[in-house]
Symmetry: C2
Subunit: 264 residues, 2 copies
């Protein structure tokens, strides 16, 4: 890879614990930015061989095999497994986790430790090389923070140094704007299918709504029957959803919350 010549981060040799969507996305982006993917370890092993193969890394079966050549080990596994997995990493190898919610202190037995949290919904199969992924950084000391920031800057233009507490708050807000929003899309798509109308007609609306928020405060953009206090339409919509308890409950609650909300 010719671009490895221009590698500007001190964290060059990188290994992964975990082989899920976050690991694969970060591995790809770092590999393409000139990092060496040294080793991959996965407790479940399902995707680990594919990732190791793809990014020319060695597959390891035991954490004691992690090489001292590693400049960084990235732990990208479920939150509740991080603490246990990391006890087996040799203390001298710098380590970060990628969780939105787990405190940095869970890694404190290492000499250098931190957090490297990609604030994006990363799902296998939808990985996009151009996806803009903000990276939230936290580190055990200022020098390691600088190293992690340099590394993040290879793959993102949105880097923010952030305490564990603030990261957890941003993660909670991310659940609201991404997971819950996507669930509304899902429920609406299902409703359209049941009703034999074309969900595709709503796609420009979905896109524009998200696009407008890039430049405007969402509070200033609110429209719709709840905002207009149009109780006739609200009653009609609820009647149309009589046989759909899920949609009915969501509609009722969101409408009430919009009505009660102090909009600009």
């Amino acid at each position: 890879m010719s671009n490895k010549i221009f590698h500007l981060s001190r964290l060059k040799n990188i290994s992964f614990i975990g082989a899920g969507n976050v690991a694969e996305h970060l591995a790809r982006r770092l590999f393409e930015s000139g990092c060496n993917l040294l080793q991959v370890y996965s407790p479940t092993r399902t995707n680990a061989p594919r990732i190791a193969d793809q990014f020319e890394a060695q597959l390891v079966d035991d954490l004691s095999e992690l090489s001292s050549d590693n400049d960084l080990v990235i732990v990208a596994i479920p939150d509740d497994a991080i603490s246990k997995a990391t006890t087996a990493i040799p203390r001298g190898i710098p380590v970060v986790h990628t969780s939105g919610s787990v405190n940095i202190n869970v890694l404190s037995r290492s000499e250098s430790y931190g957090v490297f949290y990609p604030l994006q919904s990363l799902k296998s199969g939808q990985t996009n090389h151009e996806t803009i992924v903000p990276i939230l950084i936290e580190a055990s000391d200022p020098d390691f923070e600088k190293q992690l920031t340099e590394l993040a800057s290879l793959i993102s233009n949105h880097i923010s140094v952030c305490t564990s507490e603030n990261r957890r708050k941003l993660h909670l807000a991310a659940v609201m704007v991404n997971n819950f929003t996507n669930h509304l899309y899902t429920v609406a798509e299902n409703y359209c299918e049941q009703s034999k109308v074309d969900f595709g007609l709503l796609k420009p609306l979905i896109f524009e709504t998200a696009k407008k928020v890039q430049e405007n405060s969402p509070a200033s953009l609110q429209t719709g029957p709840a905002m207009r206090n149009d109780n006739l339409i609200i009653a009609q919509h609820l009647a149309m959803l009589e046989n759909d308890p899920t949609m009915n409950e969501i509609y009722r609650m969101m409408t009430q919350h919009i009505k009660n909300y102090p909009h600009q």
Copy 2:
């Protein structure tokens, strides 16, 4: 306006009843596409003079002044006012309304009547000339349907002929994917402000989530603690929202619905 020479619709001379966001958006798009804006009438008058002035139209104070030169009158006023306002329109002038929910039959005393519903959230100040607005058409007869389709094609590439019943269903789904989604953004922005974390860090996530739905089924894109059944994180998030009953209730309900939902 030199582009008026190339006007390809039979509906050339157009007037508006109403002067709100929908009227202004459609008036601008049609004017720029070469239509003549003949007259503007507004029950409230607030914005009517500005719109008349902007698009070189005559301001009228009474519906009896609507000229027989009109090829079309577009009624863009609140749903519950449409029926009453339209009784005063001379029967010979073709008329459409722009509502997502009102039945076409409300206009049936006219000789030619229909619906011209822009499926987009149109709010003053955020009007974007490039905004993609699907237009849902319904008409009293096939020839008028063809005329309305021609007119819509001047300002949109997304035109769909649609019954009143299906339009109402799409409007309901639009409330889900637009108004409720925007409310989630609003609530998250407020939470970030209260928590002193940067809502701007979530904007790439918001944008990508809406962008992915353009190409993928949202059910296949679902991620997050509810989808993973990560009850530890869910409990933490709910504890963080202990003093925010609105967010707490939204979080609890959406999480439960995602957990119960049959995902792909």
